[in-house]
């Protein structure tokens, strides 16, 4: 390996975590390459508009400031950061090398050091009618608002849990969408209990309160302790049924109400995106909030591998925490490369660690509020499809479990769940929860990511 290759830090993912890591590395004289599948840095949260626009009337100033801050952080160090956009990592190839694909074909990216900042994707909860066109995940709705500058529907409702619900409701309304209702699964009393935790980030709490008053002012119903039951429509979505949820988030179907809509956003949580970390062989453990996450030390370096993992891909804490984690990993790497002394490492990291600790206290409050309950699993009826790619129905899982299947790999072999184009990213968190609910908790395993992580057209393999 040449010395140049040996020094090269490769960062997978150019969201808040990856960009913060690259900027921090540059500050200490280390060059890096950021690889991102999108056309622009920023990640789903801060990417911003993909086309030219004179204004962003539907987005709040806090978001616009954060989007600018990320671009500024990158611009200040752009001489030291090479950016490969619209580029996907297909997996490791040999040692210290990744296989990439972009519009021009396949290429190889050698690395001396690796930082994974691959973010998260949404946790899917199957319910009758969830495959109807018009049913979208909350993040997909937001991407259309923030990056596409397009209204995903004309008359919409939001269902799910957590702080994203009021935020997206406000953005939709400001974008001209008729928002007919927002249904938060958790009861208000549970949020009130977290008042102390929420005070760790008073500005964020205030901004949440101002969103709630915006919704009230515009007469947009926000119902705590309510959620989705089903979606209806012939060729595409025309209405949903929503109902009060009990403390276990079981829908009280006898109290269900119909709401006419042409699109909805569904957001019952997120899952860390760990497919590349798993292919690289990093050790993982299961967390209820984030799914499987890598086992890391306090600097976010893997316990059994040299790679660092930062941001939501090592546990869901959001963008502010992702920035802190990117900085911590970069500082540690700068120290390992002899660019800063131990006392410099300690001086600079203490502040970042303190900030991260405050964010965690705030975030854990919301995690307790949004802690998903088992009632969600019973939204899917026996005939409801739970794996979209392979059209596997819930009753097929029941049958396999009744016949003695005790782990997710056997479940996959029996039913084909997780074997389609998405490699199980859409169905595996439901399957895991379903096995847990069936009383299977020991060694149930994980739907293993497959190389290549993204489909390669035959034409590229010549």
């Amino acid at each position: 390996m040449t010395s140049q290759t040996h020094d090269k830090v490769v960062i997978v993912g150019g969201g808040p975590a990856g960009t913060a890591a690259a900027a921090e590395l540059a500050r200490h004289g280390l060059k890096s390459v950021i690889i991102d599948e999108a056309p622009k840095l920023g990640g789903v949260i801060y990417r911003g508009p993909l086309r030219q626009t004179d204004s962003l009337p539907h987005l709040d100033d806090n978001l616009k400031r954060a989007m600018t801050a990320l671009q500024t952080r990158y611009q200040a160090h752009s001489d030291s950061i090479e950016v490969k956009t619209q580029t996907r990592v297909l997996g490791p190839e040999g040692s210290n090398q990744l296989l990439l694909s972009d519009n021009s074909g396949l290429s190889r990216q050698p690395y001396g050091h690796l930082i994974l900042a691959t973010g998260c994707h949404e946790r899917s909860v199957p319910f009758p009618g969830w495959q109807l066109p018009g049913v979208m995940l909350l993040g997909g709705v937001q991407l259309q608002l923030k990056s596409g500058l397009v209204r995903p529907g004309q008359r919409m409702a939001l269902v799910g849990t957590g702080p994203l619900l009021p935020l997206v409701a406000c953005q939709l309304h400001k974008a001209g969408v008729d928002v007919v209702g927002v249904y938060e699964a958790s009861p208000f009393a549970k949020l009130a209990k977290e008042a102390v935790a929420l005070l760790n980030k008073p500005k964020l709490t205030l901004s949440g309160m101002s969103m709630m008053s915006y919704l009230k002012k515009h007469k947009i119903p926000f119902k705590y302790g309510w959620g989705i039951v089903s979606a209806q429509g012939k060729e595409q979505l025309s209405s949903i049924q929503v109902a009060p949820y009990d403390s276990q988030w079981r829908a009280q179907r006898d109290l269900a109400q119909q709401v006419d809509v042409d699109a909805i956003g569904v957001g019952y949580g997120f899952v860390a995106r760990t497919q590349l970390a798993m292919l690289l062989g990093l050790e993982h453990h299961y967390s209820k909030v984030s799914g499987y996450v890598p086992v890391l030390d306090e600097w976010h370096q893997s316990q059994n591998h040299e790679a660092f993992v930062v941001g939501d891909s090592n546990g869901l804490l959001g963008a502010d925490a992702a920035i802190c984690e990117g900085q911590l990993a970069a500082l540690r790497l700068a120290w390992q490369c002899g660019k800063i002394t131990e006392s410099q490492l300690s001086a600079r990291s203490t502040k970042v660690k303190n900030k991260l600790a405050r964010i965690k206290k705030f975030r854990f409050g919301f995690d307790r509020f949004s802690d998903r309950q088992s009632g969600l699993l019973s939204l899917a009826q026996p005939e409801t499809v739970v794996c979209r790619c392979e059209q596997v129905r819930r009753e097929q899982l029941d049958e396999a479990i009744a016949q003695g299947v005790k782990d997710i790999t056997s479940l996959k072999m029996r039913t084909r769940i997780g074997m389609g184009d998405c490699q199980g990213k859409t169905c595996s968190s439901y399957a895991l929860d379903y096995l847990h609910e069936a009383g299977l908790t020991e060694n149930i395993g994980v739907i293993k990511p497959r190389f290549p992580l993204d489909p390669i057209p035959f034409t590229l393999m010549e």
Binding site: E122, G148, P152
Partner: protein, 106 residues
């Protein structure tokens, strides 16, 4: 063929734009946009028919779920949410190779 109207743009398109076709109908698009944004702007909810003959619309919108795959410039299974528009691009919704070639699953 009649042009498709874009009715869901939050802010006006820039004046410099071009045309793509969706199911042989011309529609305005501009640099930087994804195919999915153009489809949604033109009121297209149903975009894909999967290998098991089930129609779907964009679901995750970020390249994860593979539920918005369309045929682009004669190539099947292109994710609308991950593909940027180009002048003269031809997009076909609900196109499926199994269906076109009469191949049955199972």
């Amino acid at each position: 063929m009649k042009s498709l109207k874009r009715t869901r743009d939050i802010t006006p398109l820039p004046s410099r734009n071009f045309k793509i076709t969706v199911d042989d109908q011309p529609v305005e698009a501009c640099e930087g946009e994804t195919v999915l944004s153009v489809l949604l702007a033109a009121n297209y909810a149903r975009v894909m028919e999967n290998d098991r003959n089930v129609a779907s619309g964009a679901y995750c919108g970020m390249g994860v779920c593979h539920c918005c795959q369309v045929k682009i410039n004669a190539k099947h299974k292109q994710r609308a949410c991950q593909t940027l528009v180009e002048p003269q691009m031809s997009v076909e919704t609900l196109a499926n190779r199994f269906k076109e070639e009469g191949i049955k699953h199972d």
